[in-house]
Symmetry: C2
Subunit: 205 residues, 2 copies
């Protein structure tokens, strides 16, 4: 009951093709959402914009709901990737890393279609729930993994707590801005600096 003739180079190619397809489709969704919003975007629109058949969409994503989730997931992962990059580049100064990461995130978020649609009150329900739900979960996990990687002395549990708290505040400020990104980032650095120092092993503690 096993007729496979030993896998060659074919499997990795198919995987790459699949990823390329998903990438292309989700990018098409991004353009359409930016232009007309998600509610006014149909599966046919997406198929046409991506240059594939509508069926391929269903074969790959299964449903419209799954597609928008993949889209939001990609947006979030794009943001966290940029933030992660900034954190790594400032690994020598955790305070600065925190401030720059927050500032960068808020600036990027204000240009995100999803965030803009929610703030503008258009399509608040669907996307709002996805951003807070998925966004909180995904970003928390990413940041919770990043922290002990850059600062190994931080215990995983503490990293998780810090990550979740920072992400909650980041989303809160993205959706309901208090001041400009720079000022908010400065405030967040001020609030979290003492806790961060404790996690990193403060000299006098």
């Amino acid at each position: 009951m096993n007729a496979e003739p030993a896998p060659t180079v074919r499997v990795p190619f198919q995987t790459a093709a699949r990823n390329l397809l998903r990438e292309t489709v989700v990018t098409a969704v991004e353009d359409l959402v930016r232009a007309r919003g998600w509610a006014a975007t149909t599966m046919s629109d997406v198929a046409a914009a991506a240059g594939v058949s509508r069926q391929t969409l269903y074969n790959e994503f299964g449903s419209r709901q799954a597609l928008v989730e993949a889209y939001v997931t990609k947006e979030i992962e794009g943001l966290t990737a940029r933030v992660t990059e900034a954190v790594r580049a400032n690994a020598d100064d955790a305070h600065r890393a925190l401030r720059i990461a927050f500032d960068l995130f808020l600036k990027l978020a204000s240009n995100e279609p999803v965030v803009q649609l929610i703030v503008k009150d258009a399509e608040g329900g669907e996307l709002h729930r996805l951003l807070t739900g998925l966004g909180q979960a995904l970003a928390s996990e990413q940041v919770a993994t990043l922290i002990p990687e850059v600062w190994p002395q931080v215990r995983p549990d503490d990293a998780r707590l810090l990550a979740e708290t920072l992400v909650r505040l980041a989303i809160s400020h993205a959706l309901l801005p208090a001041r400009d990104p720079a000022a908010t980032a400065h405030d967040m650095e001020r609030v979290f600096a003492p806790f961060v120092d404790e996690l990193l092993g403060r000299p006098g503690a």
Copy 2:
């Protein structure tokens, strides 16, 4: 151009009567919202439940929108009053005060009709925006006033920053709970303890 014959006891009485009216009406709204939600509650319903005429409602509140804002405002002020009470009762230990306040808030919030409607996804738009907007503003101000009153050594700017940050996290956890209130409150105490120590004048700083 001043024909007032010296104010007697009449003005305070009228004020008291007005407050009583508003109190009665908003309490009626609270009951109706708890029973049917806000969308299904009409001005006639409120008038009947409060035992006043529909006109009195308009004379006092002006519009349906203004009424629901008064209602949400009262709910928020009710919550912050309870939290304020708890903080004052624990003024001798800021860490404990922070934890107990957070725990109490999350428990009270889970029984708030407004919070329940939002979490249940019913009427998400209207009330969600009111709770985050009004709630954030009102609660922040209350807490920002409370802190320097209980701990005078905290500078007003720091109090404002701490208050706004705590309120954002409180609302975030009320609308998207991570764990049970007790665990979350414990986490918040752990995160903010170092910053609070700094504001209170840490021994070794």
